[in-house]
């Protein structure tokens, strides 16, 4: 059985750093990821109120006010808009935290890669497309089952174009 990767105690990404801190003679060790903002804060000796301005800090979602820093910390997303605003960061996080099925890894390097291949919400829009989509999804499942990735990619494009046509 594959063991779960150790998680950063701060932001829940895969842990690859053991951080030991001595405070008043007591050593505390925590597992953290190498790019955890808390780790950087500890190494740079900054306190919460003394943050130096960073390029990415101060970016917020205009709809729900979720900050980039909180996204980097692995906190929950605030709204649909967050996914658009923080798209690049989220793609990196999805890859780092291994949230994407390995079946898609071979073509997820592209910045425009589409990760979702499941059903799409077409209810009440175009009934013909709903049936077509169902057939395409079945075909996609078959192609993936047979590890026919070229065909799967083509079918996924068809599904996506159907989705855009209904938007």
């Amino acid at each position: 059985m594959t063991e779960r990767p150790l998680e950063c105690s701060q932001c829940k990404k895969c842990a690859d750093v053991l951080y030991t801190e001595m405070v008043e003679g007591t050593a505390t060790t925590v597992e953290m990821c190498h790019d955890c903002p808390i780790l950087k804060q500890k190494l740079e000796g900054r306190k919460g109120s003394e943050k130096s301005p960073k390029k990415e800090e101060g970016i917020y979602c205009g709809h729900c006010h979720t900050s980039l820093e909180s996204v980097l910390m692995g906190e929950p997303m605030g709204c649909q808009e967050c996914y658009h605003i923080f798209e690049d960061v989220l793609v990196d996080q999805l890859r780092e935290t291994q949230c994407i099925s390995p079946r898609l890894k071979h073509n997820s390097a592209s910045p425009t890669a589409t990760f979702h291949i499941g059903k799409t919400p077409f209810i009440g829009k175009n009934p013909e497309d709903v049936h077509k989509l169902h057939d395409l999804n079945e075909a996609l499942s078959e192609a993936l089952k047979g590890e026919n990735y070229e065909e799967a990619a083509w079918i996924r494009d068809q599904i996506n174009s159907l989705g855009q046509g209904n938007r």
């Binding site: 059985m1 779960r4 605030g78 649909q80 589409t114 990760f115 979702h116 799409t120």
Partner: protein
Amino acid sequence: MSSPFLQIKQHSFWEKSDTPIWMASSFFLKRNLAASPFPQKLDKKESSHILTALKDTFLNIKSLDMPQFFSFSDIRGAEREFLCEHFLTTYDSQNTECQSGVIIDRSGTFLGIINGEDHLILESIEAHSGWKEAWKKLTEVEAALAKIHPFAFSNKFGYLTSELANLGTALTVQAFLHLPSLVQLDQIDDCLIRDLDDEVEAVGLTGTADYIGDIVIIENRFTLGLTEDHILEGVHKTATKLARAEKNLRSELKKAPDALIVDKISRAVGLLKHSYQIDTKEALNAISFIKLGIDLGWIEGLADKQVNRIFFELRRGHLSLAFNEDFPQEILAQKRAEYLQLALKTIKIKL
């Protein structure tokens, strides 16, 4: 005052399970409304508005059998625990500012959580190896909701959830397997290495590799980058293989009883029939052997379906609800022992 959830308990569908190995299947779908911030970002007024809108839609969905709404603020601790135990689920942390609630249908097989971790968490369970009905019911409810409330969705990421780990299909499928022979004879790890592919994982009731009560949960690891059909098929395929391995092992045990298993079953009978206090983990581990003993024909006096009911009723939420009281831990352990002695008084070892 008696709890409104007692009706679910009294008509427990857990007694309807048609197989001693594959106890249940559970399907979760998470959805958020496109036009609103997710629950963690909602204030009381906004969350109240969403709660009312979703509740009204839910109560008019035809595929649900007499759905009832309960506000989380009106559900006491033991009742909440009872729901978690009955639906084999956990409630994630919620925004205390958020107005939230649950919808449950009369059959006790459908649960809808409004304003939990996401605006909607839909769960359907089925207490036997077939799972088409539960999945069909879940997709019908989701489609009925989607007609009125457009869901947050992007072509790139799929259905958008508050946690990245649930993105895409936002579907989690779990198969609950009772595998005492594989676990106790130390064959479970070999089976998992052989039968588990990268897309599914095996956990115990607490979410770790500690298989309390010899229950092994097979669930999908990924919600993104796979189709719903693929997820369903992956979990089903692995669960079927493990159930088959357990069945084969039980057939061998019937022909040639293993001394270790015989001893553990005998001890479990003694423990459950004569304990004065017993905690949940110890009781679940022991009841697992009773369930196995009944299936092997080594214990008589109780049917497997009745043991399934006991399996749930010995847990804290169910016990507290039955006695209509929140007990301290030591009293609860005593009440559990009393309950088990009464529930198992008819069993006899045949060996």
